[in-house]
């Protein structure tokens, strides 16, 4: 049986899909009779209650509407988590200190230089897309290790812009 770590609304749940559309959550048999209504629409029974769930898979997880819940749900398998921990402990990539372009955009200006100390929430770089300027903010404190972006140049979605340490 595959175990998943599912993050929903800031909470992490341990989820094990079983047979016949039943799913255990945090060790308890919770969801059952999961039915697919259309490509994106599902109906789930939790006890005697029905919940409608609409899901779309994106690059950063699932985009979900379930009753009044609207948001992103991320799913990581037990095996994936172990691999990621191993990669981190051996200095591999995939750390949160890389700043990537969230969308195709134009680099308007850089707010930091190599060697600058930054605090969480500090603007790092300004991108322009959809006629609007958007600031990318530091997710945590650190020091700017490298800058790959150049003002005035276009960047692709996912392109590495800066490295913090």
């Amino acid at each position: 049986m595959i175990t998943y770590h599912v993050t929903v609304n800031g909470k992490e749940l341990t989820v094990r899909p079983g047979a016949e559309g039943s799913v255990s959550i945090d060790g308890k048999e919770r969801a059952h009779d999961v039915q697919r209504i259309s490509l994106t629409e599902f109906s789930v029974m939790i006890g005697i209650r029905q919940v409608r769930v609409v899901v779309s898979a994106g690059e950063e997880g699932f985009d979900v509407i379930a009753g009044d819940f609207r948001g992103r749900v991320t799913v990581e398998s037990e095996r994936g988590r172990l691999l990621r921990r191993y990669a981190r402990s051996t200095g591999g990539s995939g750390s949160r200190l890389e700043v990537h372009a969230p969308m195709p955009a134009m680099v308007v200006r850089l707010e930091v230089n190599v060697g600058d100390e930054v605090r969480a929430g500090q603007p790092l770089i300004v991108l322009e897309a959809m006629k609007m300027e958007n600031e990318l903010l530091a997710s945590g404190a650190g020091r700017v290790k490298a800058v790959y972006a150049t003002a005035g140049k276009a960047v692709e979605k996912g392109e590495l812009l800066l490295l913090l340490e």
């Binding site: 595959i2 989820v15 899909p17 079983g18 799913v23 969801a31 490509l39 599902f42 609409v54 979900v64």
Partner: protein
């Protein structure tokens, strides 16, 4: 002006406003021509029009901002009028002039009126000369730090730096102390140059908790000018309107008449014809000051339509064809309360970054008092080329409370997946007790909103979401690795392949 039959209209725009214009044309028996860029090859406004002509590559300046190609499409299709919508070329006096010179009807004001209101400093001077109160500001564009500092020394901080050619909040900066002045002037000028190709900026006194209230006007070629009441658009994020409503909770009958008469005065001062909007800043003592005039149909015009029962696009076409307004000021009746939300492809949880991608699921709301003016459909790609607004959701109710309740209900029904939306922000505003109390200003969102305040979800709903996502993840894992045996009948349903079907 002679009454001139308009039989075919080219809409020089895209998205919801193009569809909005097409709908009225259909009702009037007028044929419609859409134009489109490469990115919009199968967009709803292209599929809906009677005719649709390709005008160029995806970047706006090679298509929707390319006057020559739009005029070429008008000539090729035999259109006798052009509706510019909002944005793009709608407030470009050269475009309006070249439409007229091509022997076509421009559905909007004269190029002269557009030009006189397009330069924001000239517009303010014109309004002041007509006896209309204006926000204290520099008489013209400021050339350097010394002149700017002089104004600030006289009127005190905070001040607002604005683009002379501006609109939509671009090239705008608040300056709270002298040390920020020169860097802000420079940043505003740079943003203004990239947005409008004009780096001139001017300075205005800045009010701490102002409201933004605007008056819709209509004027025919015979000089009949009326106002259609106010719209309060104080709920903004980074100077972009998010929620608009009418009536404003602070405007009573006397204030409405005063503001309306002032707006009519501004329109007359620039010889205005067609639909336009006069924007005012209102301070905490309910004094109002002229800000600018938008010489086009506004995004939020449906708020006024629901409250007056009028079709502003139909009236625009009628006026452009040379006919008189079919009513006087006394004939305009207001009823109930209307509120609009702008639904944009922005990630509410992630600093409102624009969200791009394909709309994989879309279900629109319906029911009593709800109007959904939308420019996108399921399967559409939201790209980086154009504005992130996908739809406007407007509710009408007999009272403000009923309109809010209907809009909240409809926002909860609205389902868009594949791109992130600002629906959580709209819900946050409409459900906020200060909004319910009418205690709003242009700083409402920056004052109260943080992404942590968003969710009303039940644990049950979170569990159901987690269960479905885990099942889909397992299906993907099984599909990707043929070594794993397929799980025994783990789903029930009519269609089984989430991944193969995409």
């Amino acid at each position: 002006m002679a009454v001139r039959p308009i039989r075919k209209i080219l809409i020089a725009n895209r998205g919801e406003i193009a569809l909005r214009v097409i709908r009225t044309c259909r009702e009037l028996g007028i044929r419609t021509v859409s134009v489109f860029s490469a990115a919009d090859r199968t967009a709803p406004h292209v599929l809906a029009a009677d005719e649709a002509l390709a005008i160029g590559a995806s970047p706006s300046r090679e298509s929707y901002l390319h006057a020559g190609r739009i005029l070429g499409a008008a000539s090729a299709s035999g259109a006798d009028a052009i509706h510019p919508g909002y944005g793009f070329l709608s407030e470009n006096p050269e475009f309006a002039r070249s439409v007229r010179d091509a022997g076509l009807v421009f559905i909007g004001p004269s190029p002269e009126s557009i030009a006189s209101m397009g330069d924001k400093t000239a517009a303010r001077a014109l309004a002041a000369a007509a006896g209309v109160p204006t926000v204290p500001g520099t008489a013209g564009a400021v050339s350097g730090g010394t002149e700017a500092a002089g104004f600030c020394a006289r009127h005190g901080y905070p001040v607002l730096v604005k683009a002379a050619a501006g609109g939509g909040g671009k090239g705008m900066r608040i300056v709270r102390e002298e040390s920020e002045l020169v860097p802000s002037l420079r940043a505003a000028a740079s943003e203004a140059r990239s947005a409008f190709g004009d780096e001139r900026v001017y300075i205005e006194k800045y009010f701490e908790d102002p409201r933004h209230i605007e008056i819709q006007i209509l004027a025919d070629a015979r000089g009949n000018t009326v106002h259609l009441g106010e719209r309060e658009c104080s709920i903004q994020r980074r100077h972009q309107k998010v929620v608009e409503e009418s009536p404003s909770v602070i405007v009573d009958e006397a204030m409405r008449s005063r503001m309306g008469e002032t707006a009519v005065k501004v329109a007359r001062a620039c010889g205005y014809t067609n639909a336009g909007t006069v924007e005012f800043l209102v301070d905490s003592d309910r004094n109002f000051y002229f800000l600018e005039m938008n010489t086009r149909l506004q995004v939020e015009h449906p708020v006024t339509e629901l409250r007056t029962g009028l079709d502003l696009v139909a009236l625009q076409i009628r006026i452009a064809g040379g006919a008189d307004l079919p009513f006087t000021q006394e004939g305009i009746r207001f009823s109930g309360h209307a509120i609009e939300c702008r639904i944009c492809a922005e990630d509410t949880e992630n600093n409102f970054l624009p969200s791009t991608g394909r709309i994989t699921h879309l279900r629109a709301p319906a029911g009593p008092g709800i109007r959904d003016d939308r420019g996108v459909a399921e399967g559409d790609e939201i790209g980086v080329y154009y504005d992130p607004m996908m739809a406007k959701l407007i509710a009408w109710g007999g009272t403000r409370g009923e309109a809010i309740a209907r809009l909240v209900r409809a926002l909860r029904e609205y389902e868009i997946l594949g791109v992130r939306t600002n629906i959580p922000l709209c819900l946050f505003v409409l459900k906020h007790p200060m909004f319910a109390a009418g205690e709003i200003s242009t700083h409402f969102i920056s004052k109260y909103f943080s992404p942590g305040t968003l969710s009303d979800a039940l644990p049950l709903e979170e569990e159901a979401a987690a269960a479905v996502c885990a099942l889909i993840a397992r299906e993907a894992e099984v599909a990707a690795s043929p070594m794993l045996p397929p799980p025994p009948g783990h789903w029930r349903g009519r269609r089984s392949d989430f991944f193969r079907g995409r």
